[in-house]
Symmetry: C2
Subunit: 263 residues, 2 copies
């Protein structure tokens, strides 16, 4: 689409991408704090002032990287879930969808709906594992979106719309199993939190009991506490090679949420 453009527009788009690529490269080497507009321009063989025609400020460049990171992480997680979903369907016999289509995210969400929770636990594992893997492969980009926010930086609306994709993908994993959650009733939810949960449920998961949603919230925050601790070095003295700690905790949280223990 839009292949008919002026040479100037195409050049601008390409250069914008090159700037982001180079900035992402520098980000991976030294972190966000050391990302320098001048260094990016230098590496690209252009004057630093020219770069300001593409990104009005350093923060805008960072914002672009943040948005890309949100997209990449959500894409990684949803495609991992889709793969797990396809595998589960294949082994379950109803293999109308070959496992050779791992790609698209939207397909994964649709498939999760259709199969009505077949292999929800496998999808849960895939989701959590994919988030952790992406975080370990792109630690600085993870830090950009889930670490300390840059000072004085207020996320624009577009950013938080991208940020919400990942929790929605997690809800997509849990929703199909909504009818078969094996969790104890639990304690009554206090009023304010109850209305907050009701608002979420109304928008995104009407069939999910409120207590289950509250448990997903706990698991959701636990996942990122765990990953952040691993990446930021807070597991040094305890669970330093964190693979088994992570896998075991993911399983514990699946139990906690009440996901059926089947394959």
């Amino acid at each position: 689409m839009a292949a008919i453009r002026t040479a100037r527009e195409r050049a601008r788009e390409e250069l914008t991408r090159e700037i982001k690529d180079e900035a992402r490269r520098q980000l991976g080497v030294e972190g966000a704090q050391q990302l320098s507009v001048r260094a990016v321009a230098r590496e690209l063989g252009m004057a630093s002032s020219a770069l300001y025609r593409y990104f009005p400020s350093r923060d805008d460049l960072l914002t672009a990287l943040i948005m890309d990171a949100y997209i990449a992480l959500a894409e990684s997680a949803t495609s991992a879930v889709a793969q797990a979903q396809a595998r589960a369907q294949a082994t379950a016999g109803g293999a109308d969808l070959g496992q050779a289509s791992p790609g698209r995210a939207a397909a994964g969400r649709a498939a999760a709906h259709e199969a009505a929770g077949l292999g929800a636990r496998a999808c849960w594992r895939a989701f959590c594992g994919a988030v952790r893997d992406w975080a370990r492969e792109h630690p600085h980009e993870y830090a950009l979106i889930y670490g300390t926010p840059v000072p004085g930086y207020h996320a624009p609306q577009e950013t938080i719309e991208l940020a919400v994709r990942l929790p929605l993908a997690l809800l997509d994993v849990v929703r199909p199993a909504a009818g078969r959650l094996e969790a104890p009733a639990g304690r009554p939810v206090p009023p304010v939190y109850s209305t907050q949960l009701a608002s979420i449920a109304a928008q995104y998961a009407p069939e999910l009991p409120q207590a289950a949603l509250a448990r997903v919230m706990v698991a959701w925050t636990q996942l990122f506490g765990m990953i952040s601790f691993e990446l930021f070095g807070h597991l040094a003295g305890s669970a330093d090679p964190a693979d088994e700690f992570f896998a075991y905790s993911v399983e514990q949280m699946a139990d906690f949420v009440g996901l059926p223990t089947g394959a």
Copy 2:
């Protein structure tokens, strides 16, 4: 102690403290990224070069603030636990320790031992609440120790010795209830994680079953996932006033660990 010192030593100590105070003030205003050696020196009416006689580099100044933050947070949590412990003992009748001694941390740890888990759940609440309160009162200092690590900064040994104080305080809360944990057996712990847990247990909590320790690890990471999400704005669309979400989740994790539901 050590009141007999030269005037130079006393001046150095005092100026060191003033530098840290001013740096902490600037940290609270704009965050670690904006902390400037020159600005600190300017505010103190001295040349920036003079400040380098007290802290060899900006990172060393940050390290000092990090260590102070670890100490302050652990102090805050342990004293809150001690207060809760005292209250529980007072209401239980065995009021040999008046509730008017909230101060010292060591006293709190000792008291937690003696009472053999009386009101462990109240202590759990106090611990989690104190950590959250401190984080909300000192967001930038919290970000300093639990947010994105500064690039190229490798924590010196002294720092991680301070960092371990807080999880040990949490173990002090759980340990007295070790015999009365009401949690299901759970799944078998994989080998590597098992040895990691055994190493922790051997050092700090021999009487705690391994499964219980694994559950504490989950709760421990969940707590910081929750606090980081709140402070860093990731609860914006969901549980934005996070008070009830936090309190409810803390209670859920107490259930998860198996703490008795008594007062």
